[in-house]
Amino acid sequence: MDQLAQGYRQAGGTFTVSGSGDIAPATDNTDSVKQTLAGTFAGLIAVVVIGVMFITVEYRRGMIRTTLAASPRRGRVLAAKAVVLAAVTFVTGLVAAAVTVPLGERLLHENGNPIPPISALTWLQVVAGTAALLAVAAVLGLAVGTLLRRSAGAVAAVIVGIVLPYLLAVVPGVLPASAELWLVRVTPAAGFAVQQTIQQYPQVTADYTPRNGFFPLAPWAGFAVLCAWTALALALAVFVLRRRDV
């Protein structure tokens, strides 16, 4: 709260505030909780590699012929792979995020950094959202790996699709602000909105950019963009896998 002393009265149980300025929780415009999850990107690259290899290794070793002979319904093979992959990466991500966030918050607190209070629901959104983000990214890797059948190309395509737009949006001085917002709205990088814990206050003038942790889309809406890309890639992968000779 700016301009604290003036225009602030307490009478009985009533607090009266008058004057002009911003009334909002004090923030220094950094999403501390999101900051503790900067390691998500390293985890993301690892799960994308795993997701891609889950199918490309079968192609390299010829195992895919055995797999498809054993279960000729190819769509079902890919669906089974996606379910297993998503479950494993979700649980791993959940454990990692559930450990990292409290630990990071404690370290921030011990070093005297202000941590805006977040509700249990937001906490759940960040932790489960991070796990879901990793799971969906791994499935995107699986789908692109199926489409390309080449490990290097598939891993690079998915990482470039998810990480590079985010990087271009947060590193200052590369692109103009409008392009930055557009990048985190339509590319798979929109999914990182699920880690946002700070809010915009219409009465507070601040730099509401991805760089400061503000995404143009609501958390789950951003996540839905990533899911849409993954669904599209998975549908294409099923289509191609059915049509194509092994």
């Binding site: 990107f41 690259i45 590699v49 891609v52 590079l164 985010y166 590369v174």
Partner: protein
């Protein structure tokens, strides 16, 4: 020389190489065009680096160059070709050196095309979006010393990325893991350093980062605000590339193929 010839034949006859290099050049220029087109420089002036904006595509192009470089060595491991290659050329460092020569030559040519197209298109588009003499900018052209340095440096940057990727691939062997390691080392540093609030740590991370420091070579404005000079920055990437090549060469030399 025969080793280089052999590697050239292998690279040339792989079905993907030509397409990938073409895509690298085309996408680098395309991203540069999009970036230059999204700029607006109103009458009040603007804060931007015209050379850096038109060369934004290198951020994407490097990933495709990395695919080519990683495949040159990981592809041989995945098909078992590597055993044949090493039987034909038992001096293993020579194999790696020949691969390095061929890949960096191919990257230099691709990079030169991509950078020339980016700078030409960027110059035209930026002038149309208000980056003009009236707003304190010269029209982007290779005739200006800093722009020439940014352009030539970006071509060298791509070649160093290729060598870095080749070294990592020689050390790791598997293509998915190798490209994951390369892109993680390139993209994670700038993201982590943007999340770090301490200015000194931020500076150190930027100085260490192969991508951020390497791309200082593209800077033509506000050079004093950079933690390193452009050529020192490219030197950081060169050190990463040399380290990766050394690790790759040693592992290739002492490991069973």
């Amino acid at each position: 020389m025969t080793a280089v010839h052999a590697e050239w034949t292998k690279l040339r006859t792989l079905p993907g190489t030509g397409w990938l290099l073409l895509a690298a050049a085309a996408l680098t220029a395309a991203v540069g065009v999009i970036a230059a087109n999204s700029v607006s420089c109103p009458a009040g002036g603007c804060q931007l680096d015209p050379a850096k904006v038109s060369l934004t595509g290198i951020d994407l192009g490097q990933a495709i160059v990395a695919i080519v470089a990683v495949t040159v060595i990981s592809g041989e491991y995945s098909t078992g070709m590597m055993r044949l290659t090493l039987a034909a050329t038992p001096r293993r460092w020579l194999v790696l050196a020949a691969k390095a020569a061929v890949v960096s030559a191919a990257t230099l040519v691709t990079g030169a095309v991509a950078v020339l197209a980016s700078v030409q298109a960027g110059g035209l588009l930026l002038a149309r979006h208000g980056v003009t003499a009236a707003h304190g900018y010269q029209v982007l052209s290779l005739g200006q010393g800093p722009v020439l340095r940014a352009a030539a440096g970006s071509v060298l940057y791509l070649a160093l990325i290729a060598l870095f990727s080749l070294g990592v691939a020689a050390a790791v062997r598997d293509s998915a893991v190798a490209i994951g390691v390369v892109l993680a080392l390139l993209y994670l540093f700038p993201i982590i350093s943007s999340a770090v609030s301490s200015p000194s740590w931020h500076r150190h991370l930027e100085q260490l980062s192969p991508m951020t420091a390497g791309l200082y070579i593209q800077a033509t404005t506000n050079l004093r605000s950079l933690p390193l000079t452009p050529w020192q920055g490219l030197g950081v990437l060169a050190a990463w590339a040399a380290g990766a090549m050394l690790a790759g060469a040693l592992l290739l030399r002492f490991r069973d193929a």
